[in-house]
Symmetry: C2
Subunit: 360 residues, 2 copies
């Protein structure tokens, strides 16, 4: 039976965590090892929910902060497998290659190192290791905790999600709304189009409004969120000799966290006024909360530029629970899920050191 | 073994021809019966090619005309089957219902009646009963005759295709060109669209040109062909969180028979200048040839209004072989292929009588 040695350096620990395969819904073995490593630590109380773990200090500090990371990965590559990890030097830089090195077992290793080494943090800590982030959100371990034991999270003032950001700070996240804009026509033989009405031609007006659209950039807690409204799918027509009676344009609106989901929907309905609109999904963004003392101390400890997070991440789940959150973790997000997933080992150290500066 | 009794009335004969099931590629039984009915007629020489038959007079007339019809049908409906045919009276009008009553066994029955009753036509006759019109054109019996024995058709001056026209005369047909107009973009996460380029948005310009397009109406041999250019299919995008890197609009250009396929292609390339264009198929139209003596006599004998045929039909095959052609047959073309395919029986008689007036 392997164990996780939390006393080793963060790079070795990251490799060890990666080498325990934990594709979504197969996290039990890794969760067991993390639990076994955390249980002996006297300053933490550990709660297990499914294959997720919450480890908390109880020092009576003025603030409580969350560090969170998911322990699952997307599937391995097959031939060759991208596990076990390989540590190589390229152009003078040490690299760790393999599944999870970016998304996001480096972050998990950093959290384990914080658990093992900082026994008296300056802020009370809630360390959240959770399952099933990479699949259908119904399985998401953070959601499970939220439904079963929300108080394990909601008493925090601020959260850091250790998703890969190339070791930069990305605050909050934008919301995302998808809607189907539909045009309806009348089918007819394409040799006699005047007997019908062309739904694809009508969709030209939808595309015109998209092309003319000028997205806003909104400043929230000092960060600039750049909005966007785009067609992501289009589909129409039934056969090459039939005037199409239906065309559907799926649009994706990415909106600043200062815009509520209801406001986002109203905006999309206004832009496409006159068309049939079906909102398919709509998830609000997350404020970065950078005005909070814990957040300001975090940014000060890091001494790194802070950017707005453009993509939607689980920070929005924290925000929905009333806990502002930022993303900060090792690894280039563009390499997440790639066959050649890899990360300079220096980033694991950088992230660990930054969190230690903040919490110690 | 059933036989076809050509001495019976055209309505009874139509029902008999319909009741011999002959879905495409299953025409052998019907072809055998037609052959058996034609062989004994002393004024005709009969040639069989596959399951197609050509029966010709040799009277040394100044003109030769083709009557042509396909003997296959689309598949039957299942539960209940639309065979055998049913003869009913609705609102005082006698109707024949069932597969083939429109497309186009009424025309076949009229041709058989002409073969049996007009032994000395005023113009030499080439009667063409052919297989496999309803499926991939590689199987088309007319194409087979064209490749194996073209002289059986090309010595004619004029052709009447007995496809359903509601017993009106529809001259020639329009050509049809399909092309794919493609836009290419650069994929990116839809939260960061400024890192990519949206191919669906670019397709807006294609739709704008289609909406602004003003189709020509061209007069050919005295008939007006109304052109049309339409999007028939559109497709773009790969996922709801990805800026689409490709969008394809399939357009269908229906053009007058005075426009050559090469001119049609040049026109489409001009309309969509600047875009990537792939011509998928392009079949020229057919001139109606209404200036020819045989055609003028045909129209005079019918005493019916003559319209331009808007859809593409096998008259284009005759035109390509140098034989101008018109469509004239019993049945409402809008009911072709329908589960409830049906035709007023009076139309079979009308068509037979019109051809007799012309040829006798």
């Amino acid at each position: 039976m392997p164990t996780l040695d939390l006393a080793t350096d963060v790079v070795t620990l990251t490799a060890a965590v990666c080498d325990i395969e934990s594709v979504s819904l197969g996290e039990a073995a890794l969760a067991d090892l993390i639990e076994a490593a955390l249980r002996p630590l006297p300053h933490l109380t550990v709660t297990r929910i499914g294959n997720s773990l919450v480890a908390r200090t109880h020092l009576g500090r003025a603030e409580r902060v969350v560090l969170a990371g998911h322990i699952d990965t997307v599937p391995l590559t097959m031939d060759p497998s991208n596990l076990p990890t390989v540590r190589v030097t390229e152009a003078g830089q040490e690299i760790l290659r393999g599944r999870g090195t970016v998304d996001m077992k480096g972050g998990v290793a950093v959290m384990l190192r914080v658990a093992a080494t900082i026994h008296e943090p300056t802020r009370d800590l809630s360390l959240v290791f959770y399952e099933a982030e990479e699949i259908d959100s119904a399985f998401n371990g953070l959601g499970l905790i939220e439904r079963q034991r929300p108080e394990l999270i909601t008493d925090a003032d601020f959260a850091v999600l250790l998703e890969p950001t190339d070791a930069a700070v990305e605050g909050g996240c934008k919301g995302t709304l998808r809607a189907e804009i539909t045009t309806k026509g009348i089918a007819a033989h394409s040799a006699r189009p005047w007997k019908g009405h062309n739904a694809i031609h009508d969709a030209g007006e939808i595309l015109r409004r998209l092309t003319d659209y000028e997205p806003a950039t909104r400043s929230v807690d000092g960060l600039d969120y750049r909005e966007a409204l785009n067609a992501v799918l289009i589909s129409g027509g039934t056969a090459t000799n039939v005037i199409p009676d239906r065309c559907v344009v799926t649009v994706n609106y990415r909106y600043a966290p200062s815009v509520s989901p209801a406001q986002a929907e109203a905006h999309v309905r206004q832009v496409f006024d006159g068309f049939e609109i079906t909102v398919v999904d709509n998830a609000g963004g997350a404020r970065p909360g950078l005005h909070l003392p814990a957040a300001q101390a975090f940014v000060a400890a890091l001494d790194l530029p802070v950017e707005a997070k453009q993509g939607w991440t689980d920070v929005a789940r924290f925000s929905a629970m009333g806990v502002p959150a930022v993303n900060f973790g090792p690894g280039d997000p563009n390499l997440a899920h790639m066959d050649d997933e890899r990360c300079p080992t220096a980033q694991y150290l950088t992230c660990e050191e930054a969190l230690v500066r903040w919490l110690q």
